[in-house]
Structure formats: C-alpha cells, structure tokens
Symmetry: C2
Subunit: 116 residues, 2 copies
Amino acid sequence: MTFTERLSVTFAALADPTRRAILARLASGDASVMELAKPFEMSQPAISKHLRVLERAGLISRSRDAQRRPCRIEARPLAEANGWLEKYRKIWEGNFQRLDALLHELKSQEKKRRHN
Amino acid sequence: MTFTERLSVTFAALADPTRRAILARLASGDASVMELAKPFEMSQPAISKHLRVLERAGLISRSRDAQRRPCRIEARPLAEANGWLEKYRKIWEGNFQRLDALLHELKSQEKKRRHN
DNA sequence: ATTGTATATAACGTATCGGTTATAGAACTG
DNA sequence: CAGTTCTATAACCGATACGTTATATACAAT
C-alpha cells in the first residue's frame, strides 16, 4: 500500500464516529471486543466490522487472551495523518491568526460535548 | 451540525486522494474549477462533485468571477481535525518515541512520492 | 461431553460514493 | 443576436459502507 493509499484508508476509518469513539476508548488502554461494544447500541458483529476496518487501516492491532482478542491502538497511521495535516498549518495560521485561541476553544468543546 | 458530525464529514472528505490533491493545489492559491480539473483524468462533473463535497465539509468556499467560481481553501475544519488528532499525540509519542524522526521521514516521503 | 462465553463470518437490505454521459444555465465574446 | 466558455445538475451504474440476524468457530468451565 502506498503512502497515499494509507492516508485514504486512515481518513476513511476516522470518518466514522463509532470508530473514533473506539479509538478514544483504546487511548486509555487495551480492551476486548465486548468491552468496546458495551457503550454502543449496536450489535456485536457491527463492532467486529468496525474493528476490522480499524485493523486494516493499521490503527489497531490485536493479540489473543483465551477467547478474547484484546485490541491495542497503533499510533503510526495517526501520526501520518497528522503529518499530512501539518502541511496546512501554515495556511490556517496565516488565514486566521488566532490559532492558540482556536485550539483552546477546541479543547473546551471536547470537554463540554464529550465528543468522539 | 455538531462538532462530531463536522469531524465525520471532514475526515470523509479527506479520505479521497483527488480531494486531497485539490486541497493541496488550493493551498498554493485560489483556483477555478477548470484549473483544478486539468491535472486529473476525470470529467468536469466529477470534479464539481468533489468540490461540492469539500464545500459541504467547509473545507473550501467559493466566490464568483464572471463565469468562474474560484475556490479557496478554508482551514478551520482542518484545524478541528488536527485538534482531534492532537489528543493522540501523547500516545504516539509514548509508543514510539522518535516523533521528530517520523515527521522528518514523512516529509521526505511527501517530496519523493508527490503524494496528495 | 456439554454448556457457556467471546468473537468472526455469511447473507442480506438500504444508502451513499465516485464515476460516467447528456443537458441546462450563466456569463462573456463577436 | 448567436456562439463559446465555465460550471452545475440530472439520471444512471457498479462498488462500497454500515447496519441487521443467523450461524459458525474457538476456547473455558463444569
């Protein structure tokens, strides 16, 4: 898979709120499929599918613990996506200067809305 | 549209290599639809559709210049996406320390592969 | 061996995506 | 006015996305 293709599958994986929530959960530690499925009003196969998407994108890896398949977040594709976005930092820094203010605003939004 | 919904449409818009290439082009200045379409082996309506996706995601805005509808990159959603990814910086910094090396590596890849 | 628990796969429906061609509309040009 | 250029829209098509239910598989526990 080329760099561009990896970017595409990474962004596509991040485009779904359920998958972002799963990554957010995994950011605080590994978890099994059932543990990940619990917060969602969604069938277990649906979660398994989301995990397969994340795995194909390289955003998670899975090991084995008895029947469980614990998932671990893999940060490399996130770093690549971030690297791509970094190219545009200059633009938005130029276009509307108050980047610090914006990032601060984003952080409070995060806390308020408990977004994914 | 909620913050989460905006994130979803932003990442979905970024998941297509054509649209990323369009944004890359716009990063170096506004352009008309025809100018944007030229590099691609793709019909003009296809490009118009991509532009509509980008516009709905708030990633571009359009003005009018005679028959032309010049497109301008809008950085805010990119900043929001970047803000989301920032949450995971600690992870990838922790998981494999050499972030500087990685970002450097990403930059040379960009130049080599002329990726989108 | 049987039962239970955790996960994956299969088959399916509906919606959206990304492209096409054909056509329409809007603004310039002669 | 007629013709040309730029862009958007409509109708269509095949592929993919995201969910479902039903079933299969893998391991554990009794």
